[in-house]
């Protein structure tokens, strides 16, 4: 690191500085300097030197960067491992011919699908997020004012739990359902 290096914002004999010319070279937007350049040999020479040196930066920017072989696969593996670690526990389902183990992410996905299906009947509520918190799955909703959320939430929670038990049996995770946000009514509804 080069915090100490003095920056070469050197003044030219005409009073203008390298930094001004560098910014002009990269951004333009300096009419006064542009007019001055027409008559100043010092600025023109400095600008030409800047353009030559900065050409290397432009070419470096255009040089493709190739990601290492297998980067995507390794990244997805790290991500899945992290998700599984954080996404509660595997669900163990007893079946006639043995046990079925269900990934935590699959349980979240199933819950999300269930909630969205149930919410088709209650357009005043929408799913905001579905995230695991330890052994509990937290479902956050957003309601359009003035939804009767107090009445709807317990019923909704019961329906989600029933749906999960139907799919996952007694190993279904515990659910909490919260109203996380309230959205204003759509304009036409408000005016109605």
């Amino acid at each position: 690191m080069n915090v100490e290096t003095p920056v070469s914002d050197r003044p030219l004999p005409c009073g203008h500085r390298t930094g001004e010319l560098l910014d002009y070279h990269l951004d333009g937007e300096n009419t006064a300097l542009e007019q001055h350049l027409a008559t100043c040999p010092h600025c023109r020479a400095e600008l030409a030197e800047i353009a030559e040196r900065w050409g290397a930066v432009r070419r470096a920017a255009e040089t493709p960067v190739r990601a290492p072989e297998g980067l995507l696969e390794r990244t997805l593996a790290v991500l899945r491992e992290s998700r599984d670690h954080e996404t509660g526990e595997w669900v163990e389902l007893q079946q006639e011919r043995g046990r079925l183990y269900i990934r935590p992410t699959a349980t979240v996905s199933l819950t999300r699908g269930l909630v969205r299906r149930i919410l088709r009947e209650t357009p005043e509520l929408a799913l905001l997020s579905c995230v695991p918190e330890g052994r509990v799955l937290r479902v956050d909703l957003v309601a359009t004012y003035p939804a009767a959320a107090g009445r709807l939430l317990p019923e909704l929670r019961q329906r989600i739990e029933a749906g999960l038990v139907e799919h996952l049996g007694v190993s279904a995770p515990e659910i909490t359902v919260r109203l996380a946000d309230v959205a204003p009514p759509a304009r036409n509804e408000h005016e109605r």
């Binding site: 690191m1 070469s8 040196r53 290397a56 997805l76 992290s82 998700r83």
Partner: protein, 197 residues
């Protein structure tokens, strides 16, 4: 964005799709998130590598960035472009890699930058390719010698080709502060380029 970036990586063309995928991921849709990972990992790697100048650290930064992004999905509100949000996550992860480093003896100016391995495609002109590689190495060695507060805006603006507004949003600074940082960064890089052999 940078001319070296493939057309399908251009952020502006992906904003609606990416934002929709992020919103779906926020609801718990892991496949939507994985789709973003597939689309953007190479780009995030390029940004990280240009900041940390080390392939191993760049890969760590990319993986840390995606894990952080997954954990921070609740903070994505859809008011910023998805690409801006992802750039912010990866620059933070890259910066974190730089800060984790133990103090070391400053690099020899002539020491080869890992980005020297980032070579142009074969052009049938071995001499020209070698010169271009050498030039790219010099630039990245010079950038790696800048302090992080200068390196980040410089990489985003001059190498990634982002607008002032986009860089300001990624770095969460106002345009005036960004212009000032970038002015110093450009001068510092020019100084380095004059010094690097």
């Amino acid at each position: 964005m940078t001319e070296g970036v493939d057309a399908d990586e251009r952020a502006t063309e992906r904003v609606p799709d990416d934002s929709a995928l992020l919103m779906a991921a926020k609801e718990g849709d892991t496949s939507a998130f994985d789709s973003l990972v597939r689309t953007h990992t190479n780009r995030l790697y390029r940004v990280a590598l240009r900041i940390v100048d080390d392939p191993v650290e760049a890969e760590d930064a990319v993986q840390e960035a995606w894990v952080s992004a997954w954990r921070a999905l609740a903070t994505f509100r859809g008011d910023a472009a998805a690409s801006t949000w992802l750039y912010r996550v990866v620059t933070n992860a890259a910066l974190s890699q730089v800060r984790k480093r133990k103090p070391t003896v400053p690099l020899d100016l002539a020491e080869e930058s890992p980005l020297a391995a980032v070579s142009p495609e074969g052009t049938g002109d071995p001499e020209g390719t070698a010169l271009r590689e050498e030039e790219t190495r010099r630039v990245h060695t010079a950038i790696a010698r800048l302090e992080p507060s200068q390196r980040l805006p410089l990489v985003l603006r001059e190498l990634e080709g982002m607008s002032y507004e986009e860089v300001a949003e990624v770095l969460e600074v106002n345009i005036t502060a960004l212009r000032s940082r970038l002015h110093r960064a450009r001068l510092a890089l020019l100084t380095e380029l004059r010094e690097v052999p």
